[in-house]
Each structure stands twice: as structure tokens, then as C-alpha cells.
Symmetry: C2
Subunit: 452 residues, 2 copies
């Protein structure tokens, strides 16, 4: 193996490969998946470097794991034994920013917030905003089709990608899409790569959409509901209206109590569900008035409004509150999604699981998207706790699919959720995905064992 590796090292700059202990910080992502010792880490600086690496890997059948910031929570970038990690962190240039075309051309390693800040200097924004946006990369967001807080208004990462440069398994360079806002020539290969978790190719350049910053006043609101059904019907009526909030988050009773334990003062411990939302518009106050009436009709209580995004702080306490209890997204958690009208059914199912299992299940949901984050409380993370968490997460995924949804709304399959694929896909769907994988990566060297 050393001779094979020497061949790769010789084809790159001496500072571009790491081996042994030096690979350590590149072996984990933000999930509990356990890494193994990779053969090497390649610190790519260009499309050519990635091409060289993949050509070499293809020849020698070495598994390759592409890596952004390692902020993924599904084990999609964890090192496996004998693999080569291709880190894109050095490829962080914003190559072009073209406000008139509402697009930017970037390397994959650019940090999401960095790109957004550059866009905002031009009066535009880069919409994708996962919770990790301060350190996660645009390439990682593309590889996982990352969601975020503002998807309800601005869509997911896929909606912001127009064209890609992708290095294929054999080292060839593919250019997909176009810079124009419309393009119907050939198949949409761009969106085939978005969300494919590095299993079909490695993105080395992306042309992404920028969009105007919402105008008007920003208001945040908070409202408590005595029952999950009432909260659900309120969300349904809101989504059927002409109002599209910037975000709309739901905390179940367990989560509200965890947050109150962590930093008391804002939440009703007795409420079955709390909604926290935000609107930004020219008539924000009129929308707030309309929402107040709407929520009241569905039993909403303690409606509270603030200028700016003050109440979002309450929502942001959820992660630290969970972390303080050893829970959260880096622990075994569900990110299933359902159509918003079915959210309360999913939440009631989770309540039932909680009763049956005896463990608390914390839910914080992007309610307008029907996308939940559920974490199982209690225990020190031992084998029993993990088994219970897995059982519950699987039961939630199963129910979400029955309700017309998905086993994963924004975190991806990675290595941790592969046994959920069969919950969502029948044999035909699994086979078509396998055919696509085989067509693009016949030797199966690209992030094997992930995503599909």
C-alpha cells in the first residue's frame, strides 16, 4: 500500500498529503460515527488535484471520502480503513460575484457565512443557512443538500445551485448546468450531484444563486398551544394562507422544559407545543395581526411579539439546552420530515412513543417545512440508551414515510441512516439509484457505504 501511496504523493505538492497521526482531525464528522484509520488525507488546492487523486484512486481501487468542514451529523464523511480523505478546505476562493446575474462562482471550501457576507455587500444574500453555517462549507451544503432555519421562505440548498464542476470517479472533469437562469439542454445532472453525499463525484466549483434580501420590518412572535392537534391545525391554516414566514419553529413540551431548565423565563412549561416564528415584510405588523387572530382561533395562548429577531434567541437555546443533557443532533436523533399538514400526527406519534418507552423525546421542528429534530433523552449514552434511541428514531422515520414524508429532511443518510432507506424506497427505487451509482462510479470508490 505504501508504494501505491508514494505514487499519489509524488503527483501532488509535498504539503498536500498527510498520513498517520496527522490525519486525525480529518477522520471525524460531527456525528457519533466511529472513524477508522485512513490511508492518507489529500489537501486539494485545485480541480486538477482532485482529478489526479481520483484517477489514482480509480486505478488502485482506493475508496475516496470527500470532506468539507466535517460538520455533517450523519457519518457521511467519517474515515474508513484504508480510504483517502479528500479535504476541500483549501479551495475557498469566491471566484466571481455577479450581482446582475444574481450568482456567485465559488470553490467548494468557502464557508457559507463568508459567501453570504460577500453577497450582502452587494445587497444580495446566499440563502442556505444550516445551524453550522459559520464553519460549514458551501461544498458540504451541496453534497448534503443542506437545509436550515430559513428554508420555509428561501428553499433548500438545491434551490440555490445552478451549475457545478464535478470530478468523476475516473478523474475526468464534468461541467453541469449553465450560468443562465434557464437551461433545458440535456439532463439535469446538477441536481443529481446535489445531495449525493460525494458518492457520484467531487464538486470542485459551484455556480450558486444569490437573491435579494427580504425588505420591510422584521417581527418575531411566540405562541403556546394546549394540544399538539391545535398547534398542527394552526400551522396548517398558516401554510394555506398568503403569509410565508421567514421561519416557523415548534418546540414540544419536553423541549420547552429543557430550555426552561437551562435558562428560565420565556416558555410555558405546560404547553403541548410552542411556536416561534418570524416575518419580514412591508406589512409585517398587519401579518402579525392576522397571525394573532389565526392562532387564537386554534387555541393559541400568551401570543407575544417583538421587533427584530429577539425571540429567535429563545429558539437558539434549544441546542445548548440539549447539549447540557448530552442530547442534540450529534447524538442519535431524527430529522424526518412530513407535509406540514401531517406534522401534528407525527408529533402525537412521538408522544405515544415517549409514553411507551418512558424516555423523554425532545422535539424541535422547522414546522412550516414539517421537518422535525427529535432527540431521545436520558441515560449516559450507553448501549441500552443507544438501542432505545435507535428504536425510537426508526419508529419516527417509519411513521414519517407513512405520512407522505421522508426519513431524512436535511441531515442526509450518511452512514448512520442507511438501514432507513428501505423504509422509504421500494425495490425499484433502490435499484434505479444503484444503477445511477454504477453508471457514474463503476468501481465503487466514491464514499462507499454512504447515501444509497
Amino acid at each position: 500500500m505504501t508504494m501505491i501511496l508514494d505514487e499519489l504523493v509524488a503527483r501532488l505538492h509535498p504539503t498536500q498529503t498527510l498520513t498517520g497521526d496527522a490525519t486525525e482531525s480529518y477522520t471525524r464528522d460531527a456525528s457519533p460515527a466511529v472513524p477508522e484509520m485512513p490511508l492518507a488525507v489529500v489537501l486539494a488546492e485545485s480541480t486538477q488535484d482532485v482529478s489526479t487523486t481520483l484517477e489514482w484512486a480509480s486505478t488502485h481501487r482506493v475508496p475516496v471520502i470527500p470532506r468539507g468542514a466535517g460538520s455533517g451529523v450523519s457519518g457521511g464523511a467519517t474515515a474508513t480503513k484504508g480510504s483517502v480523505i479528500v479535504s476541500l478546505e483549501r479551495m475557498k476562493a469566491i471566484r466571481e460575484l455577479r450581482p446582475a446575474d444574481r450568482l456567485a462562482v465559488v470553490e467548494p471550501g468557502v464557508i457559507i457565512d463568508t459567501l453570504d457576507a460577500a453577497a450582502r455587500e452587494q445587497g444580495l444574500m446566499f440563502a442556505p443557512d444550516p445551524a453550522s453555517s459559520a464553519w460549514a462549507t458551501v461544498g458540504g451544503a451541496i453534497a448534503t443538500n443542506a437545509g436550515g432555519f430559513h428554508c420555509l421562505r428561501h428553499g433548500v440548498t438545491a434551490d440555490s445551485v445552478r451549475a457545478l464542476t464535478v470530478v468523476l470517479a475516473d478523474g475526468r472533469v464534468l461541467r453541469t448546468g449553465a450560468r443562465s437562469r434557464k437551461n433545458v439542454a440535456g439532463y439535469d445532472l446538477t441536481h443529481l450531484f446535489v445531495g449525493s453525499e460525494g458518492t457520484l463525484g467531487i464538486v470542485t466549483e459551484a455556480t450558486v444563486k444569490l437573491e435579494p434580501i427580504p425588505r420591510g420590518q422584521t417581527r418575531t412572535f411566540l405562541v403556546a398551544f394546549p394540544s399538539l392537534m391545535q398547534a398542527g391545525s394552526a400551522v396548517s391554516e398558516l401554510m394555506a394562507s398568503s403569509i410565508t414566514p421567514d421561519l416557523l419553529e415548534l418546540l414540544n413540551r419536553t423541549t420547552a422544559n429543557l430550555v426552561e431548565d437551562f435558562e428560565p423565563g420565556h416558555l410555558d412549561r405546560g404547553a403541548a407545543a410552542t411556536l416561534i416564528g418570524q416575518v419580514t415584510d412591508l406589512d409585517a405588523d398587519a401579518q402579525i395581526h392576522q397571525l394573532r387572530t389565526l392562532f387564537a382561533r386554534h387555541g393559541g395562548e400568551h401570543f407575544e411579539v417583538r421587533k427584530g429577531d429577539a425571540l429567535i434567541e429563545v429558539r437558539k437555546r434549544v441546542q445548548p439546552a440539549l447539549a447540557a443533557r448530552g442530547m442534540g443532533v450529534a447524538w442519535m436523533s431524527s430529522d424526518a420530515a412530513v407535509p406540514p399538514s401531517r406534522l401534528s400526527e407525527l408529533l402525537r406519534h412521538i408522544e405515544q412513543l415517549q409514553i411507551e418507552d418512558g424516555r423523554d423525546i425532545s422535539v424541535v421542528a422547522h414546522a412550516g417545512d414539517g421537518n422535525i429534530h427529535a432527540a431521545v433523552a436520558g441515560g449516559a449514552g450507553g448501549a441500552d440508551d443507544l438501542a432505545a434511541a435507535k428504536r425510537i428514531v426508526r419508529a419516527i422515520a417509519e411513521r414519517a414515510v407513512q405520512l407522505g414524508g421522508t426519513v431524512t429532511g436535511e441531515h442526509g443518510i450518511g452512514s448512520l441512516k442507511r438501514d432507513f432507506l428501505a423504509l422509504q424506497f421500494d425495490e425499484t427505487a433502490l435499484e434505479v439509484q444503484a444503477h445511477i451509482k454504477a453508471a457514474l462510479d463503476p468501481a465503487g470508490i466514491l464514499n462507499p457505504g454512504r447515501a444509497v
Copy 2:
């Protein structure tokens, strides 16, 4: 062949197959492509019918051409000798309309305007609006990833598709996507089928997005520019601003004169470019004021504003004015697209082609999308005229690609533009598309000779 056909006829209801002269009205689309005699037309009424037909076709290697309303202009649905046309026109049910989930579940044969009208009864809209929306089907829009007048604000058809039921070449039924607004499980097969022009499978059900109807006042405006460069810089500055018009159309001098010949009164015959646009917003008048100043800075003249969409009528005269001269989209025409900032470069190239060739070239562009429609004037459509038109359309496509754009922005490749594919795609891109096609349709029976 008759025995083979008998086998299919026996497996469907007697009223579901047409042969001989009865197939005539199913053999053409709205392009000048010349149809040949098909073996039969199948009038599918269910996913099962389509599955039966494709299973049969796969076994006997019979080419299958899916068909909506036949409104396509690129020869994507024209009958070829010995093919079976699968018409989806009988599958026109709106199965579900779920305002709270902002989605509808429809059969492919539903007319676009019918779906939009049903959505509007719920206070929502179905965004795709090609010029043929009164007779074109949702399935056809999905197969071609159709554009339309309001793409600038609402995106293309692909942006409105969430999940599909697709019958594969061998008759198996594939379900892609989910009803949830987010879904990152597996590969994005949904958007692989959107725009694939029936070459990868036949869509028999679609889950599509509905969206809120824009609020506020509607204003239309018209402004003339002395030069293409000034019009281009005005479009660029507008697109870099916070204003997103509902639509923004550009007429070149030739088009303005054709419209004036057809129905005089509104356009400046001397202007190099006329922009016609529309805004709908709570502060429409303030936006109009901002636009007036912006256009004036770039030499805009005769700025005119109307309440409602009055001036859109002027834009709508373009097609009849072209038709009166035997031109228009059903004649050999270009629908290339470029990033909006490069639009004036493309228009000046067209001006140059016009001078070199001596024939008038009419351009009407979805300017905000950088998507042109160029038709070559003069002649009675004889061989010389066709050759000249083809030469010019090819030259436009070539330049559009150089400017970062595409050979086709919204009409598709069909059968008429296949030799443009090599202008836009290198060998790797063509090969990847061929691999995908082979993975999903190994026998090559699905709309052979189209799209890729």
C-alpha cells in the same frame, strides 16, 4: 408487426388504441418537424396502462413516444415510423389539492391553466405559465421543464415539482421524491426526469408545488432605449437591485416594427430595444418610481406606466405579428439563454448576424432571464430560407454558450436541436448523459433520437 400489435391491443381496453389514419392528429407537435406513420396510438388511462404498454414495447423493442397536448416546438413528440405514441390526454384528474401543504397531486394530462384555476380557488397558484398554458399539459411542462412569462419571479417548471410517479422503460413503476417540502434521502431522481423529454420514463403522476398569489398592486411599464447596450445595462442594474419584476420582456427594433405593422400605436419604431415589464407588490408605485429613475440613467425614453397589466397586451401582439409574417416559434427559431448581464452582447451579435445575412431577425426576450426568442424573417419558408434560418439559429446558440448560457432556455432539444448539444457539452458531459440514458433505458425504446 400486426401480431405484435394485437398482443398490446388485447391487453388494453378496445377504445384505447388507434391505428392507421386515426393516429393522424397524434403524430405532430407544434414544430415544423415532419411526422412519420406510427404503429399505433395508446390512449392511456392509468399508470397500469402505461406500464402494460412499456412492458410490451420493451419486449418487442418498439420505440415509444410519450405525448401531452403536442404543444412542444422542438419536435420532441413527433411520430416516427413504427413507433407507439402514448397519449396522456385522458389522464387529467387533479387527484388532490392540499393548500396547507401548498401542493397538488395530478395526473399528467391535466391542462396547466386548469390546475392553476383550481389552485386559485384556494388562494394559491401553479406557477409555470408557458404561452401554451391554455392547452398544454402539466406532464408536458414537466417533460420539457417548460418556462413561461413569469419565470423571472416564480422559476421554471422544475422548481414546482416535488415528486413523480414514473413508468420505467421495462414497465416497472418508480416513485421519486416525497410530499414533504424537504427530502434528502437518496438521489434526486425527480429532477433527473424533469426536462428529460420522455427519454428516461413516462410520468403518470406528479406532486407539484403551489404558491401564494403575489399580493399588492400590479403596474405595467414600457420604456424605449436608443441602443442595445443601454437596454442591457438597465436590465443588469435592475437585476442587481432588490426589485424582482413579475416579468421583464425585451423587443428588438425588428420586433417593434413588426408589431407596429400589425397593430400600430404603442411602440417607438426607432428604438433599438423596448422593455415591457410588470411589478406586483405592496409598494408597486415606489418600485415604479425607482425603475423610472433607473431606466432614465441608462438613456430610457418614453417611460409609460399603467395600472393592472394593460401594457402586457402590447407584448402579446408579438406572436400574432410574427405569425402574420410566417415566423414565430413554430418556424425555425432560437430560444438560447445567457446570464442577464450578457444579454446585450448576445443581442449585438444578433444585430451583426442580421447585417451580414441581410435578413431581419426578430427578437423578443424574457430579458430578466436572459432568454431570447429569435426568429429569422423573410422568404416563404423554402429550402434557402430554412438553411439561412438554421445557420443563424446555430450561430446564436454558439454565442450564447460562449457567454455562459445555453442553446435552449425553455423549448428543449427535441429532435430539431440535437446537433446543438455538442456546442454546449464536451465529450465527458455527453458521455455521462449517455450512461444515464443507458442505465434507465438499456434497450433505447423511450423517445429515441430526442433530447440527448
